[in-house]
Symmetry: none
C-alpha cells in the first residue's frame, strides 16, 4: 500500500515543476541548481530524484508541461470569424497561458530564443499545435486575396508567433512598462497584419 495517494504524489510533482520553472526561467538551464529548486519546493535535494531521473529530464518535463497547458488553452480558443478575430483569439489564449504559467512560459520563450541545438527541436515540436492553429487562420484568408502571396502561410505563422514572443520579451525586459500584457493581442495582430504603416495609411496613402 503506497504511502502517498497518486494525487498527493502528483501534487508534489507539480510543486517541483513549478519551482524548477521559476529557477530555470531566472537562471537558465546551466545556471539553475537542483538544491535551490528542491528547497524552493520545500523539499530536500534527494527528493527531486524520486520524481525525475536527472536535471535534464526535469528541464524537459518543465517544457513539456508548459506546452501541454498551452496547447490545451489554445485548442479552446474559438478559431472562427474573420482573420483579425481568429488571430486575436489565438493571441489572447496565449496571453492567458502566459499569465497563468508565467515561469513556465519564460523558460519556453527563453529556450526557443536561445536556439540551442538540444532544445530547439523539442520546443518547435511542442509549438506545432499553436503554429498550425495560426496557419489555419492564415490559410483561410489567403484565398480571398487578403494576404500577401509572396510568403507561404507557414512562414507567416512563424513570424506571428515570433512577434508574440518579441512582445513578451519586451514586456519582461521593461519590467512590465511596455507593452502591458492586455494590449499584446491587439498590438501583435495589427502590427502583424498591417505593419507600421497601419490600416489608416492604407486607406489614405494609396490614393495618389
Amino acid at each position: 500500500m503506497p504511502r502517498l495517494t497518486a494525487n498527493a504524489r502528483s501534487e508534489v510533482r507539480e510543486r517541483l515543476l513549478r519551482a524548477a520553472a521559476t529557477r530555470f526561467a531566472a537562471d537558465g538551464f546551466e545556471g539553475a541548481n537542483i538544491n535551490t529548486i528542491s528547497l524552493q519546493a520545500g523539499l530536500a535535494k534527494g527528493t527531486v530524484y524520486n520524481y525525475f531521473s536527472s536535471k535534464e529530464e526535469l528541464f524537459g518535463e518543465v517544457i513539456r508541461s508548459a506546452s501541454r497547458r498551452a496547447v490545451e488553452l489554445w485548442s479552446r480558443a474559438p478559431a472562427g470569424g474573420s482573420l483579425e478575430e481568429c488571430l486575436r483569439a489565438l493571441a489572447a489564449a496565449d496571453v492567458r497561458v502566459l499569465r497563468e504559467q508565467e515561469p513556465f512560459m519564460k523558460v519556453l520563450v527563453r529556450e526557443a530564443m536561445s536556439f540551442r541545438p538540444e532544445t530547439y527541436p523539442m520546443i518547435l515540436e511542442h509549438l506545432a499545435p499553436f503554429l498550425e492553429a495560426v496557419g489555419g487562420c492564415l490559410g483561410r484568408a489567403v484565398g480571398g486575396g487578403r494576404l500577401r502571396d509572396d510568403l507561404p502561410p507557414e512562414e507567416l505563422a512563424l513570424v506571428f508567433v515570433g512577434m508574440l514572443a518579441l512582445f513578451y520579451i519586451q514586456h519582461w525586459g521593461s519590467d512590465g512598462a511596455w507593452p502591458v500584457l492586455d494590449d499584446v493581442p491587439e498590438l501583435v495582430v495589427t502590427l502583424f497584419l498591417d505593419g507600421a504603416r497601419g490600416p489608416a495609411a492604407r486607406a489614405s496613402g494609396n490614393v495618389q
Copy 2:
C-alpha cells in the same frame, strides 16, 4: 617600458575576444569554459587573466566589442532617402555586421533574448545608437502621415529591431534554410511596414 608593443598586446586581446565569442555563442555563458577559449585562441589558460580579470568581464567585453563594431557600421549606413530606403539601409548594415561577426552577434542576440537582469541593460545600452538611427528614419516619416500614430516611434523602433533579431534566430534555428540572410533586409522592411496583408492588399483590397 612594456615588453609587448601596444599593438601586439591588442592583437592578442582580439584573438581572445574572437575565441570567447565563438564559445559563448555556442555554449552560453555558463557552458563556455575558459580553458577551451584560451586553447582556441592558441594560448594557455593563465594568459586569459593577463587580459581580463574574470570570466564575467571577458563576457562583458565580448558584448561590448560586438556592439562597438555594430555601431560603427550602422553609423556609416546612409540614413537618408525614403522611409523604405532608410530602414533597408540600416537593416542591410546590420546584416553586414552579422556576417562579419557572426559569433559576436549570436552572443548579443542570445543574451538580449534571455532577458537576464544582469545583462539586459548592458545590451540595451549598446543597442541605443542603432535604435536611435531607426528612430530617426521613423520620426521623419511620422509627420507625413505615412506611419500609424497610435504607437510612438521609439516603440516602433524596438519592434523593428526585434523583428530583425527574430529573423536571425529563425535563420540560425533552421540552419540557414529560411530566411537566407540576403533576403532579411527586404523581408523585415516590408513585413514591418506593410504587415502580412502586404502592399498589394493595400492597393486592391481597400478601395472598395
Copy 3:
C-alpha cells in the same frame, strides 16, 4: 502475539539473505544496494530494516549464514578412511555446499581473499570447523610418515583450504571452463598431496 508466525518471519528473512548474497557476490559490499536487494527479494526497501539493522549487519548475516550451512554439511562428511579418502570427502562436501549456495560462497571466498581487516577474522572464525576437520585428517596421517614433517598440520590445512578456494576462483573466473566443479575434489587432493610432479613421478623418477 506476533502478527507473523515465527515460520513466516524466518521465511522472509531467508529470502532476504538469499537476495543479498546474490547481490553482494555480484557487486561487492560497497557496490551492492539495499533497494536492489529488497526488490530482488520481492519486498520493499523499508522491509529490510525490519529484519536487519543496517547494511553492515545484513552483510555479516550473509556470511554467518553461509558458513553455518557449510559447517553443517561438512560435519556430515564421513571423516574416516585413508588420507586421500578423508580429504576427498571433505572437499566433496565443500563442493556440495558451493553448488547449493553459490552466491553465499562467492561472498565468502571473495571476502576471505580481500583480507579486509573488518571481515577477515570473522571469516576465519567461521572457517574454523572445516579447518579442524581437515586438520584431523592430516593429523592422523602425520604419525605414519605419510606427510612431510617440516610443516605443522594446521598450516597444511590452511594450504588445503586455500587451494580449494583457488580452484573455485579459477572456476568462476574462467566462466566454468576449467576446472569443472566435479573435478575439483580429485584435483585438489592429488595436487595437494603429490604436487605437480604427481604420484607417477614419485615412483619412477626417484630411483636414479
Copy 4:
C-alpha cells in the same frame, strides 16, 4: 615553457599512484575515495584530475603500473637451471616485487581474487608474462617425465601463481605471522612440486 619539468611531473604522478595503491589496497575500488587519496599524496582533490581523467582510469593505472614493474623484475630472473631452480627464481622475483611495491601488489592480488568481470581480464592480461615464464619452466620439464602429464602446463602454471597469491594472502591475513615472506619461494616451490607428502615420502614411503 612548462612550469614543471617532465621529471617533476612524473614524480607527482608517482606520488599519486602510490597513494592510490595504498587506498585501493586498503578499501577496494568502491571504498577508496579520491579526496583521501589526494590528501595522502599531499595534494588537493582537483590535482588528481590533472593527471588522471577519472577514478576508473587512476585504478587502471595503478594496476598497470604494478604489473609493469613486476614484469620487469620477472624478466630479469634467471630462467635456466633445473625445474626447482627455475621456479624458485621466479617466485623470488615475485616476492621482491611484492616487497618493493606492497600496496600495488595488494591491489593486484585483491582484484585478481575478486573475479569482477570488469577487471579480471585486465589482470590476467598483465599477468600473462609471468604465467608464460612459469609455463616455460614447466614445459621444459614435461618432456623428461618429471611432471605429471594429466594436466597441461598452462593449468599447472595457473596453480603455481595461485599458490603464490595464496601465501601472500595468508601472510597479510596473519599480519606477517606465517608465512614469512622470505620463506615463500621455497615453500611454494616444494608444495607445488611435491605436495603435502613431500619429497621425503617419495623416496621412502613408496618403494614398498
